[in-house]
Symmetry: C2
Subunit: 251 residues, 2 copies
Amino acid sequence: MSTLAINPPALGGTRYKEVKSAILAALSAGEWKGGECIPSEKRLAERFGVSIGTLRKAIDELCAENILIRHQGLGTFVSMHQRDRHFFRFFRVVRRDGDKAYPVVTLLDFRKARASREAAAALGVETGARVFQFVNGLALHGKTVLIEHISVPEAHFPGLTEAKLRNRPNTLYNFYQDGFGINVVETDERVSVGLASELESAKLGIALGAPLLEIRRVAYSYHRSAVELRVSRLNTEEYEYIGATSGADEK
Amino acid sequence: MSTLAINPPALGGTRYKEVKSAILAALSAGEWKGGECIPSEKRLAERFGVSIGTLRKAIDELCAENILIRHQGLGTFVSMHQRDRHFFRFFRVVRRDGDKAYPVVTLLDFRKARASREAAAALGVETGARVFQFVNGLALHGKTVLIEHISVPEAHFPGLTEAKLRNRPNTLYNFYQDGFGINVVETDERVSVGLASELESAKLGIALGAPLLEIRRVAYSYHRSAVELRVSRLNTEEYEYIGATSGADEK
DNA sequence: AAGTGGTCTAGACCACTAC
DNA sequence: TAGTGGTCTAGACCACTTA
């Protein structure tokens, strides 16, 4: 954990980008963990050998990416998942009237398996690599409306068991963070129409083959390394998916 | 079009927020139009009576919201729609293999009508207010896969006719900008499963009542004033909707 | 009162674009 | 060469939090 000043100005690009990379590297290395306070701006500026303004610009970008959170008078913190309404950054299902409710999650299945071609491609592992697969049912306002099929690479989640998953106190991404040091900071989602399988028919109380909203999500940690593939199917009779709220950044 | 310095520091909040508001007001008033270059940072800083750094912070936010675009060595410009790949900020349909193609648009219907309750609520007008309603068919790779039902308030689009709409040289939002001074800078979208009407059945070549991805969009101009309601239905056999690419801002 | 982030200044120098 | 935005500095003062 070197605390040396970073490289001279000209090499990697600009000073503040280098500072940003250095902070990201420290986060990846676990120097500061989820929810913790990082050193003050003054201290970090000294550590990296830049002015406060430059240091702030690096942190500005990390805050814009929801990787850090600033609190005036308190300090700058490593972003945690699902705190308060922050939860709805990744949970994008609302009732048609706009009401946002926290889902009640039930683990429906858990198994060790081999990565499908789709899962392997999404997660950046070999086809047939060891993965954990599990299925959640999510209830809103007392009714199950969403089924999630989740795959994660075994290599990133050593010691994961059905019991641990079932007994987690918080949300799944918080569990990833606390239990395995994996911080989900970004997701990509593709949406299409899918059909209800037997499982979904039974759990959602709809006909076999009934149309459902199908959401394929890949979740990423720092430096865009994939950590989870999730295929969700939503009954949109009473609920909707919140799509693009354009105005913020896209690439 | 006053060029006075803005208010003293304490009133509206912070200096740079006031500068930002003042720039937004000038944009709304049409002082600088789509694609035009706004005055240099130095000149604007003098005009508003703030330092360069403060002026830059205001412009930083407007660039982050895709309202302005900076070009080093050239100047700062009012954002235009659908230039190059910028088009795909609002067009969120891709082939399943990820291929992005520009749609070929066909106007299928055009009429004057009264706002439905949904349209009135979305657009912030009275139920029964005069609106234009029109329908587009969008073809990708030679096949029509998306039908758009669009409502816009007559009051904001004086003199709009079917002929003008049909003969527009560019995309719809560019037409709004050039023809009516309306800049779409933000959209909200809700996604669910819908069923094919007769029109969609005929144009998309699918069965009546077949499931389609239904996207309800409200488009906003500066200061979040609603200017368009659009209900789109997509055949997801070969195409998908790009949902949240979380990592950038959400509220 | 001490420490934090939030805002703001008044410049400097650099990289890029146009002429 | 002149003008633009991009980066960076070395502070100042303010607002907020905790004690």
